[in-house]
Symmetry: C2
Subunit: 426 residues, 2 copies
């Protein structure tokens, strides 16, 4: 292997032939691998099975968790998430198995009715817009795309999104109604917003009185090193500027206990809580409090959550390591054909390949039995302007599968780059 950018036409052609032979070998293996979604594996879910060993659903207060009631969630579940978020229990709402659904329903409430501080429902705002730090989470973007918002990309850096750009945009344009953020171990880069970024979010001066920050703490306890990274709590910071009604923080246990059967939570101001509960009370009597109680008894508190997450970490670190080591061994020698992130937590590695090659890489992988998230998915409208980004999710497959998938992925990256370099020469 040598720097592809130093190769002449013949050398590139030879490299292409060699890579095609390697690719063919992988094709002969009839692989069926999936690194598309941030999906925990069975060995992670097995860690939480004791959660189900419970036959008494009466809470310490004598409340029967089986029946209707307690829309805001069981008090003990609110206390658990208050501990995890770093806020007060009265600022916490505990929902069902999907934080995405909570987000969707909040944006839908904005669309149909507006919030307590809205001049009018968002659905009546022409040219309504939403800010999207990129690359970001496709399902976030999908909600606001479907609801007719123009999605405005904001570039990410290791410190978080470009705050100069955000401050300027929201100060000028009252049709910008919100922003999607994954502040800790961001999806997909794995970056954690800096304290200064969080402070600037808390202090934002916005033209829209009803600008909302959708702050998805999906990976708040999902550390991949023994360094427990903790950052200022946006809701608390926002209070210092009187901006607490602007903040909706979210989290869930989807990647702590069971992806499809965990519990979710919102942290927000008491004003927002009151408004939100009034709206939610038309929609649902209460969420599944039996599952809330199971989670409380199993996880207990933040310390319990962190202890449980350490078990996850020990099972996930080898898979992340396999990806990164293979990239370093197989891609670095080829010159500047790709770079990737080195997350300290979360569920993903971002792989940036030479511009114009990401779609081709994803296609080559797919044709060989390895499914990746569609190239471009991390950008609004699924359009990566550079056609460079790929999101790698190494959690679901076994370690052996991740090793195989990483090796195949490197062959595909190199092949796509060589193809492009040869095409560019013509």
């Amino acid at each position: 292997m040598a720097d592809y950018f130093a190769m002449d036409h013949d050398e590139l052609t030879a490299e292409k032939t060699a890579l095609e032979a390697q690719y063919k070998k992988f094709q002969g293996m009839n692989l069926k691998l999936n690194m598309a979604r941030g999906k925990p594996g069975p060995h992670q879910m097995d860690l939480a099975m004791d959660l189900l060993k419970m036959d008494n659903y009466i809470t310490d207060n004598g409340f029967d968790a089986r029946n209707y009631g307690e829309l805001e969630g069981l008090p003990e579940a609110r206390a658990l998430f208050a501990d995890v978020f770093g806020v007060q229990p009265g600022e916490v709402f505990v929902g069902g198995n999907s934080s995405l659904q909570l987000m969707y329903n909040l944006v839908a409430i904005g669309m149909m009715f507006g919030f307590q501080d809205s001049p009018k429902p968002w659905g009546q705002v022409e040219h309504r817009k939403f800010l999207c730090p990129v690359p970001g989470y496709d399902r976030h973007f999908g909600i606001t795309e479907e609801m007719g918002f123009e999605l405005i990309s904001v570039p990410m850096s290791p410190d978080g999104p470009d705050m100069d750009m955000i401050e300027k945009l929201v100060a000028e344009d009252d049709t910008i109604k919100g922003i999607w953020c994954v502040p800790q171990y961001s999806n997909p880069d794995g970056y954690t917003y800096s304290d200064e970024t969080i402070r600037r979010f808390a202090a934002l001066k916005t033209a829209a009185p009803d600008f909302k920050i959708f702050w998805d703490e999906a990976y708040i306890v999902h550390h991949l090193t023994d360094e427990i990274i903790e950052t200022p709590v946006l809701l608390n910071e926002a209070k210092k500027y009187g901006n607490e009604d602007r903040v909706f923080m979210f989290t869930s246990t989807s990647k702590i206990t069971f992806p499809g059967a965990g519990i979710s939570a919102i942290a927000c101001s008491e004003n927002s809580m009151k408004y939100m509960c009034k709206r939610f009370s038309t929609m649902i009597i209460s969420y599944d409090k039996m599952n809330q109680l199971r989670h409380v008894r199993f996880l207990k508190n933040k310390a319990g959550v962190l202890a449980h997450m350490a078990k996850h970490r020990r099972r996930l670190v080898p898979c992340f390591d396999a990806v990164k080591t293979t990239f370093a061994e197989e891609l670095t020698p080829c010159g500047n054909i790709a770079h990737w992130t080195n997350p300290k937590g979360g569920y993903f590695i971002s792989l940036y390949v030479m511009p114009g090659c990401a779609k081709r890489v994803a296609q080559l992988c797919k044709d060989c039995g390895l499914t990746l998230t569609g190239a471009g998915s991390a950008y609004p409208y699924h359009k990566d302007p550079d056609d460079s980004h790929l999101r790698i999710a190494p959690t679901y497959p076994s370690l052996t599968e991740v090793e195989t998938a990483s090796a195949l992925l490197c062959v595909c990256v190199r092949l796509a780059v060589v193809e492009k370099l040869l095409a560019d020469q013509q």
Copy 2:
């Protein structure tokens, strides 16, 4: 006791004094009784505790119910509800713990996007309207009230809503977008729509191409007699007229297993299923399939559901009997001061007191420690034009409590009527 309408002023005054003495006795008991909501009691929920004895969450097909996936619900859960509804599994969507939330989200989809057959989103239809058979379920009406529909009352009879009126209204007005129905053991009257009513619903000619029937089969297996009443399945009937895209049927296990932690389902046409799932996929990855699998293994099929519901019945019939027997003993001798329904299933008895007295009765009960559903709640905007209707929910309290509550209720009805008759004489 004698017919109040035959009493002169002095007799009524004496009766009032006697009733006030009885009322005072109840006040001395410091009661805390609640017959407001259709809430199962602990003895009902205890019947389903075996549902929780499960440690294997892999389905027969090898699917891991703990993880993400299967938005439409586990195939075995879809089959269970297909059996209950009387439709095909491919026509069934299985959701989370709340059918109300499914209804809300469907109306919200109508509001924001419209349906596959909508000329435009409902939110953009000025003077949009929804039909509400009355008395009906306050939470149904609340959804469309909040979403800005004008609610049009349609009178109920023991055969169902007034179909002449409905046929006329929907044929003429394309701003009427739907109707709320509880076709079996209706909330609150306990009436079951006749076959002819169901056929006319299936055949409706509507001016709106996107008219939807929200058909809430909340009490489809909630028989209170050993007569298993079954009616034509609206979705199947609608197919005969090419109207199947108009039908959304709902049910849930909230009053079969656990009110707050059951599972819910929709039955609809394949067209509607496709459209709905596309919209829902933006909102949620999948509902709680572990709870779906628990329910499937516990209830098995329709026969299993019916066997379980027979256990409920044996525990509920005495409470319904206590209410009706007390009414007959205490109210009938007073002349035509009240009449009530005699449901063969469901969760409620409708009590119609002399017009102008319902609010007063509810207030008298409340002041004595017995909470009823607010008078008027069963009507759009909570306004009963006759101030006559009270919804009695005898399931949650114990039998002894129901006996006490019924006796108190009768004193309050009689007192309110006597007060009114005396006031009318002046």
